[in-house]
């Protein structure tokens, strides 16, 4: 009870030395912000940069150049030792549409549309979710009316696909993406593309009586993403990426494999590690300096508290709470500022950036800030606990 009370009171009191408090909160927030950004880059390895860093992409050279059957023969997951092989299949649907399957687990795995390209909503997660282009027009009234009425897609809207009235397949718009720029298979296509999860894709095929063997209903491949096993931090995945690309080589019907060479990735990774070390070192330096200043400014106060009977643990809590309050306040401000900068007010919110505040990156950054405070805390407790009230009181 006593300890809890000291902690609460100390948190309040630590904000009362306003100049010292605000100065260090600002410094901590800058350093925390830098640490968050640097760690975001690392996080990026497994998200936006997933394919660049961990994968090899084989994209069909033209639409219709590779069927799904061919792709399965070309790229056999069993022999590659890869973590995942994702076939991005599509089927022509009528004369204006292509339906493409996506993998909801590897949402950064598709070479053309990534969660960053969303202008509204979220990446599909449910079986009946669909991702549509912002240029898609939905027919609102029956085409037999004298004038057709179309509407722009809105997140949450349900619509139906069907080659006849009795085979309608209902989908819900979960997200809207901005169409990629040319050159790209999707951008250069005259048809619109709708992306749905793999399971839905299979359901759609069976509901529409599409079959793989019928030449008019052939299932084609937009691309195949091969995710190498191993983690990027140790660099194991880099070797595996190179090995997969070397193993497969160039394949007929596809462009040359797209991947980043190990040398480029190593260089980039090393720079990021270096920056991260500087970020953490900076936070460590500031927290240590702050701790040192506390030992100077609060020596007399600590002497009074000890004279009044505060135990070593009580005194530790008093000073620790000040460091933590400053570090956490600085971190939260840094996080909010970063979030504010990354938020595009024009509406092109990125689902990756949008969630940085709740992401493992934020947690890791917080951990880095707390860890960097430990040496400072050890310094402060060693110096503060060594304070003998009698010596301090003798100093006028």
């Amino acid at each position: 009870m006593g300890t809890y009370k000291i902690l609460l009171k100390s948190i309040v009191f630590s904000t009362r030395s306003r100049r010292r408090f605000f100065t260090f909160v600002i410094v901590f927030s800058i350093l925390s912000g830098a640490t968050i950004i640097l760690l975001s880059y690392f996080d990026n390895f497994s998200r936006e940069g997933l394919l660049e860093h961990r994968g090899v992409i084989y994209e069909a050279s033209t639409l219709g150049s590779v069927t799904y059957d061919d792709a399965q023969g070309d790229i056999d997951p069993g022999t590659l030792g890869a973590e995942a092989v994702i076939y991005y299949k599509y089927v022509n649907f009528g004369t204006n549409l292509r339906i493409c399957s996506i993998d909801t687990k590897y949402k950064w795995g598709f070479s053309e549309i990534k969660p960053n390209d969303l202008v509204a909503g979220n990446f599909p997660s449910g079986d009946r979710d669909a991702l549509v282009s912002d240029q898609l027009l939905l027919l609102l009234l029956d085409a037999q009316a004298p004038v057709n009425i179309y509407t722009k897609p809105v997140v949450g809207t349900k619509f139906r696909l069907g080659r006849s009235d009795d085979t309608e397949f209902e989908l819900r718009i979960s997200g809207i993406f901005k169409k990629p720029e040319s050159p790209s298979l999707i951008a250069d296509d005259t048809r619109e593309w709708i992306f749905i999860p793999e399971a839905s894709f299979e359901d759609l095929l069976s509901s529409q009586n599409l079959n793989y063997d019928d030449s008019s209903d052939l299932i084609f491949i937009h691309s195949v993403s091969i995710i190498a096993s191993g983690d990027v931090f140790s660099g194991v995945s880099y070797n595996n990426v190179d090995a997969i690309a070397a193993n497969l080589g160039n394949l007929p019907g596809y462009d040359s494999p797209d991947f980043k060479s190990k040398t480029d990735k190593d260089e980039q990774r090393n720079m990021m590690f270096l920056s991260l070390i500087f970020g953490i070192f900076g936070t460590f330096m500031v927290s240590t300096l702050y701790s040192y200043l506390i030992t100077r400014f609060r020596r007399r106060e600590v002497a009074v508290l000890k004279a009044m009977g505060y135990s070593k643990m009580n005194v530790r809590i008093v000073v620790l709470s000040e460091i933590l309050v400053v570090a956490i306040t600085g971190f939260v401000i840094g996080l909010l500022v970063i979030q504010g900068f990354l938020w595009n007010p024009l509406g092109r919110q990125s689902s990756y950036i949008y969630l940085i505040i709740m992401s493992p990156t934020a947690f890791l950054s917080f951990l880095a800030v707390v860890i960097s405070c430990i040496p400072g805390f050890i310094l402060i407790t060693t110096r503060i606990l060594a304070v003998r009230p009698i010596e301090i009181f003798r100093q006028k």
Binding site: G2, I6, M308, Y310
Partner: protein, 225 residues
């Protein structure tokens, strides 16, 4: 040790090394008894050793020789943590320079000795308010030390010393920085607490304050004279 005595010093000595070789006896073979509910005063000029004596008796400093008996236990042999516990439950301090904590209000300064204790916040607040009223500074509860006069700060210091209901108050030059009226007022306040069985040890260079004491000792060169 008599039942009526709260703290007793026996053959207490404290020596310092000044410079490289010079040994200074700040306290030299002093015997002292502080009875329960009495105001004991030690007077003497600056450098006579009276503050050192107070610091040893309160457990802030260790003697070179001798004993400080509190309920038949020699507190001079206790470690820092045990002494902290002893001070927390039994001792109130009044410092010459008041030593109020600048980031706490007057009310919070008074409450501060009770924060480590298992006492409910409401009870702490009530005790502090009661003392604030007793020292006549209820209207200054939310003021910070920098916003108070010297006399007011010393009153807050006294209230802080009393809030833990100590068995003894150690006051080092409690009127040192105050004018005559304020000094008399502070001494009357201290004297009033002896009626509640609280012992008070005052060390001061001001011989005029003797009239408030039940027992007075004069100190010179580390000895009672």
């Amino acid at each position: 040790m008599s039942n009526n005595v709260l703290i007793e010093a026996k053959n207490l000595s404290k020596e310092y090394i000044r410079g490289k070789k010079e040994v200074v006896m700040a306290v030299n073979d002093v015997d002292l008894q502080i009875p329960k509910g009495k105001l004991v005063m030690v007077t003497g000029p600056s450098g006579s050793g009276k503050s050192t004596l107070l610091n040893i008796l309160s457990g802030l400093d260790k003697p070179s020789e001798g004993k400080v008996l509190y309920e038949d236990e020699n507190i001079a042999e206790w470690d820092e943590e045990k002494l902290a516990t002893f001070r927390r439950g039994n001792v109130g301090f009044i410092f010459q320079n008041w030593e109020l904590i600048r980031i706490m209000t007057a009310l919070e300064n008074i409450e501060s000795p009770l924060y480590p204790l298992k006492i409910k916040s409401k009870e702490i607040r009530m005790r502090a308010i009661s003392l604030l009223k007793q020292v006549g500074l209820w209207d200054k509860a939310d003021n910070y030390p920098d916003e108070l006069s010297g006399g007011e700060q010393q009153r807050i210091g006294i209230a802080r010393a009393l809030v833990g209901k100590p068995r003894i108050i150690f006051a080092d030059e409690p009127t040192g920085n105050l004018d005559q009226d304020n000094a008399a007022s502070i001494m009357r306040l201290l004297k009033s607490f002896t009626k509640r069985d609280t012992s008070v040890l005052v060390v001061t260079h001001n011989e005029d304050l003797k009239r408030y004491a039940d027992t007075t000792h004069r100190m010179s060169s580390g000895r009672f004279v």
